[in-house]
Symmetry: C2
Subunit: 527 residues, 2 copies
C-alpha cells in the first residue's frame, strides 16, 4: 500500500497544509522537483503546536514507564511498517543509496527501542532517598529526589540523517523518553520522508491514547519557523544538528528569551587523526586507504568525517600520502544531500586550495550526478597550520588536510591548538605508547570520543558512546546526542521533602514498587 | 595562635597584595572599618591565577580518587584548625551570630567531607562499558565512557554564607571533587574570613603535593575582576550565588566568549507557601508563628526565605494573619550583611508597600545596630498579584506577601503564574489531598524542591537535596548547587573506543580495579 504524501504539517492529531510560501523537495541527483508542494508553517502553527505540547506535558510525563516505553516501540514499528516506500522517498530526497538508508532505518528503530529499554530500566530517574533523622540536631527531614522532563522540546531535523537524526531520530527519541513532548521542525531537504515518519509517530501517539500534543511536526525555514519555535515560551529545550552558523543562531535566540533555555546544538568538528610514527611506519599504506574509505563514506557528509591528519614528515608519511592519493583518485564522487551543501563544499574546497602554504595532494573523480561532490585531499605543515585559523574550518563533505609535523612535540602543539571536536583518533602500536600518553590528556580536553586504530565515521548507539564534545563541536559539552546518555539532556532534578506517601511519585515510594536502582542514604541499592 | 590577616590574595602558592584600589571590610553592626586594607586584584592577577589553574588541570584531574578525597578532608581539617578566630572574624564581617556561624562552619566542613565520600565512591564517573561485538555486522567496537572535569572553575563567594557558600563552600567543594582547579573571587563583604579560609585550602594543596594552580583566590569587584575571570579562556565553568542582576551579567559574559561556558548562577526565588484550607483551619496560629520564625531567620537573608504565602480568604486566614502579625511584632530586627543589602531591603520594602492593592499587615521591631533590617509582612489579593509583576520581585531580607485567593482554582492560577523557584511548600492535611494533587504537577514544573508542612529555610546537604530550579531561581535548572549532585555540574563525558588496556583510565579497566558501579552492556554491575 502506498501512502499519498500531501505536503502537510502535523499539529497534534491534525494534518494541516501550512499557509506560508510553498516549497518542493528536490532530487539532488537530477535537480528535479517533486510534487506535491509543501506548505511552510506560520507563526500561528508554531503557537498551536507549542500550546498543545505544553498542555500534554504533565499528562505525558506522568505516564508509567511501561506505557512510555511501549509508545516508543510502537513508533519504531510504525516506521518499519512504512516499508520500501520510506526508503525510496528518502533516496529520492537525499541522494543517499538504498543500503545506507536501510541501515539508517535500522538505527532509527534501534534508537527508539534502546530508549524504550532505558525508560523501563528507570535508572535515568536518578532516584535518591535520604531518611529522616528526627533525633539529629537539627533534625533531618525525609528527602527524596527524582528527575523529571524539562518540558516540551524543539527538535530540528538534520540534513545528513533523514531518518536517524530527523523527525523520529535521536533527539526526538531521547526527549520523548525523558517525558518531554516534541515539536519537530522538519528539514526542508526531505519533507516527504518527514511526513511519512511524522505520521507514523502521530499514529503511535493516538494508538497509545496519549495526549495529541506529545508530537507535532512543522515545515518551514529555520530563520522564521525555527526561530519562532525556539522563542516560544512553552519550549524548554532544543535539539539541533547542523551548521555552526545555524546552531549559534538558535543559541542566541534561546539565551535572549525571558526564560533562557538549553540548546543542544551539534555543529562543527574536523575529527583529527594522529598517525603516530611507529604505527605509520608499520602500516602506512593500509592506514592511508582506510582513511580514504572513511573520508568518502556518505560523500563525507558525517559529523565525524576525518577532516585532519597529523603525521611526522618522512618516508612513512610519503607512503601514506601515496596510498591515500591513489585510493582517492579511484573514488567517484557521489551525490551530496542538497544543491546548497554541494555548492558550499565546492567553494570550501576551492578556498582551502588557495590558502597560503596549502598544496593539493589528490582529488577524487567527478561524479555523474548534478550534486556529486569531488573529494579532495590537501597538505600543509604544522607551522602554517598553527598560524592560519581558516585551516581549521569544517568543510562539510569529503575534504581533508594533512598536517606535516617536524617533531612529536608538534603533535601536542597542534592538539593543544585545536578547537573542540566530536572525535580524536590515534593510530599507534606498542612502540608509540609514550607519544600516545603525552597526547591523551590533551585529547580528553578537546574531544568527546577518543579512538585508537579505527576511523571516526560510524557512531555506535549504545551506553558508552559520546557524540558530543567541547565547543564548537557542540554548544554544550556536558552530554551526548547519541546513545543512552542522551536522555539526560532533557531532565532536571526535583526534591520532595516530607511528602506523605500518597503524594510521592511511584519511583520514590517505600518498598520501591518500580524496582529501581536507588541511592539510599548515599548507597546505591536495588530493592 | 592568632593568624595575622594581611589583606592578601592567593595566587597558586603565593600570597600577594593586589595592586588595584584598596578596600576595607566593614562591620555592618557598627559601620566601623577594619584594618588592614585589602588590595583588589588586577587583570594580571586574573591571568596568573587562570594560567596556573590551566597548568594544574591535567595533573589534578588524574590524581587518584583517594588522593583527591584526602585533599578535601585535609582542607576541612585546616578550616576547623583555624579555631575561634575564624568565627570571630566572620561575625565581625557579616553581623551573623556565633551559633549560626559555628553551624555554618560545620556545614562547610561536612560538605567537603561529603564530597570526599562522593569522590571515593566514584559513582560520579558514570563509568559505562560496551563490549566489542566483532561478529556483528557492522562490528561493534569496544566502547568505554567516564566523566572528567570541565576544566578550571571560577567560583564567586556569596555574601550570605561567608563560609558554606564562599571560598571553600559548596561550589568550590563540588568543583574540586570533580577534578577541576578553582579560582575564587572572594566576596568583598568578608575578605578577612576569605583570607583565613583561603590560606587553609592553600596549605592543604601544598601538604598534599598537588600543583599550586589547584586553588587561587582573588579580591576585587565583580564588574572588573569577576568579569575578567569569567572571560578568561582557561575558565571552563562558573559557580555563583547572588543577585539576579549579578548572575545575569556573568551569564552574558560567558555566552559572549569565543568558547561559551556554562554558568551555574543561583539567583532569585520567593519560595511560595501554599496554605491548603483544611490544614490552615486546623493549625492557623501554629503555621503563622512558624512562618514568622522562618521569615526572620538570619535576617531573612536566605535564598529559600519564604517571601510569598498563598491562602484562601476567610476565618482561617484571619487567624493565620493575626498570629503571624503578633509574632512578627515581637521580632527585633537583626543586623544585615552589608550596608548595601540593608539599603536594598529598606527600599524594597518601601516600594512594595506603595504598590497598588498592597496593604501592610505588620512590621517587626527596629533593631539597634546600624544595618538592622525591620521585617515586614504585606497582603494583597490574587487578582492584584496576577496583574502586577513587581509583586513577584525578590526582596532579599525578611519581607513577605500574603496572597488572598477567592477559590482553590486561584491557587493553581497563582502557581502557574509564578516564575521558577528554589522551593515551593504545601501545608496540608489528609482532607487537602485533592487540592495538593492538583497543585503538585504545577509545582514540579516551577520549583527544585517541594516541601510539605515545613519551612524552606534550612537546606540539607545530602544526596536527595535539590537547591536549584527553573529560571530565574537559577540560570540552569538541570542541576543542584547543594548536595552530592552538585558535582555533576562540572563534569563531561568522554568515550574511549578500542583503547589498549595500558592506555585506559583505571576507572574503565578490565577487572574493575577501583571497584566502581559500572554500566556494562546496559546493566548496572559492581565487580
Amino acid at each position: 500500500m502506498t501512502i499519498t504524501i500531501h505536503g502537510e504539517q502535523l499539529i497534534g492529531s491534525r494534518a494541516v497544509k501550512g499557509g506560508a510560501a510553498p516549497f518542493r523537495a528536490v532530487n539532488p541527483a537530477t535537480g528535479e522537483q517533486f510534487e506535491p508542494a509543501f506548505g511552510a508553517g506560520t507563526v500561528e502553527d508554531v503557537e498551536q503546536a507549542c500550546e498543545l505540547a505544553a498542555a500534554a506535558f504533565d499528562s505525558y510525563r506522568n505516564t508509567s514507564l511501561e506505557a512510555r516505553a511501549a509508545f516508543l516501540e510502537l513508533a519504531a514499528q510504525h516506521i518499519l511498517d512504512l516499508g520500501p516506500q520510506l526508503i525510496e522517498r528518502a533516496m529520492q530526497e537525499s541522494g543517499l543509496p538504498q543500503a545506507r538508508l536501510e541501515g539508517e532505518r535500522g538505527r532509527t528503530v534501534n534508537q527508539l527501542r534502546l530508549f524504550a529499554k532505558v525508560v523501563r530500566d528507570g535508572h535515568f530517574l536518578g532516584a535518591a532517598l535520604d531518611s529522616a533523622l528526627p533525633e539529629r540536631s537539627p533534625p533531618r527531614p525525609d528527602l527524596r529526589l527524582r528527575k523529571i522532563g524539562l518540558g516540551p522540546v524543539a527538535v530540528f531535523g538534520a540534513s545528513n540523517f533523514p531518518l536517524a537524526f530527523s523527525v523520529a531520530g535521536g533527539d526526538t527519541a531521547s526527549a520523548l523518553a525523558a517525558g518531554c513532548p516534541v515539536v519537530v521542525k522538519a528539514h526542508g531537504a526531505h519533507p516527504g520522508t518527514s511526513e511519512l515518519v511524522g505520521k507514523a509517530v502521530q499514529a503511535a501517539v493516538a494508538a497509545c491514547g496519549l495526549p495529541e500534543g506529545v508530537f507535532s511536526m512543522l515545515h518551514g525555514d529555520g530563520r522564521t519557523i525555527g526561530q519562532a519555535l525556539v522563542a516560544h515560551p512553552a519550549i524548554k529545550a532544543v535539539g539541533f544538528t547542523g551548521s555552526r552558523q545555524g546552531g549559534l543562531a538558535l543559541v542566541r535566540t534561546a539565551a535572549a528569551r525571558a526564560e533562557p533555555i538549553p540548546v543542544y546544538a551539534e555543529m562543527s568538528s574536523i575529527n583529527p587523526l594522529f598517525l603516530l610514527p611507529n604505527a605509520l611506519a608499520q602500516k602506512a599504506a593500509q592506514i592511508g586507504t582506510g582513511f580514504i574509505d572513511s573520508l568518502v563514506l556518505g560523500a563525507g557528509q558525517f559529523c565525524t568525517n576525518p577532516g585532519l591528519v597529523i603525521a611526522l614528515e618522512g618516508a612513512a608519511l610519503d607512503n601514506f600520502r601515496a596510498a591515500a592519493a591513489k585510493a582517492l583518485q579511484g573514488k567517484v564522487g557521489s551525490t551530496m544531500l542538497t544543491p546548497g551543501i554541494h555548492a558550499a563544499f565546492t567553494s570550501g574546497v576551492e578556498k582551502l586550495g588557495k590558502e597560503a602554504g596549502v598544496t593539493l595532494v589528490a582529488r577524487g573523480q567527478c561524479g555523474s550526478t548534478v550534486c556529486a561532490g569531488q573529494a579532495a585531499l590537501f597538505e600543509t605543515d604544522a607551522a602554517n597550520f598553527l598560524v592560519n585559523p581558516a585551516l581549521e574550518d569544517e568543510i562539510f563533505g569529503s575534504s581533508s588536510l594533512i598536517v606535516r609535523c617536524a617533531s612529536l612535540d608538534q603533535f601536542v602543539e597542534v592538539a593543544e591548538h585545536l578547537d573542540g571536536q566530536l572525535t580524536a583518533t590515534l593510530f599507534l602500536n606498542e612502540a608509540d605508547r609514550d607519544a600516545a600518553q603525552a597526547l591523551l590528556p590533551v585529547l580528553e580536553r578537546k574531544a568527546g570520543r577518543i579512538l585508537v586504530n579505527g576511523y571516526p565515521t560510524g557512531v555506535e548507539v549504545s551506553h558508552a558512546m559520546v557524540h558530543g564534545g567541547p565547543f564548537p563541536a557542540t554548544s554544550d559539552s556536558r552530554s551526548t546526542s547519541v546513545g543512552a546518555g542522551a536522555i539526560d539532556r532533557f531532565l532536571r532534578p526535583v526534591s520532595y521533602q516530607d511528602l506523605p506517601s500518597g503524594l510521592l511519585p511511584e519511583a520514590l515510594q517505600e518498598g520501591n514498587p518500580l524496582g529501581l536502582h536507588r541511592i539510599r542514604n548515599g548507597e546505591l541499592v536495588k530493592a
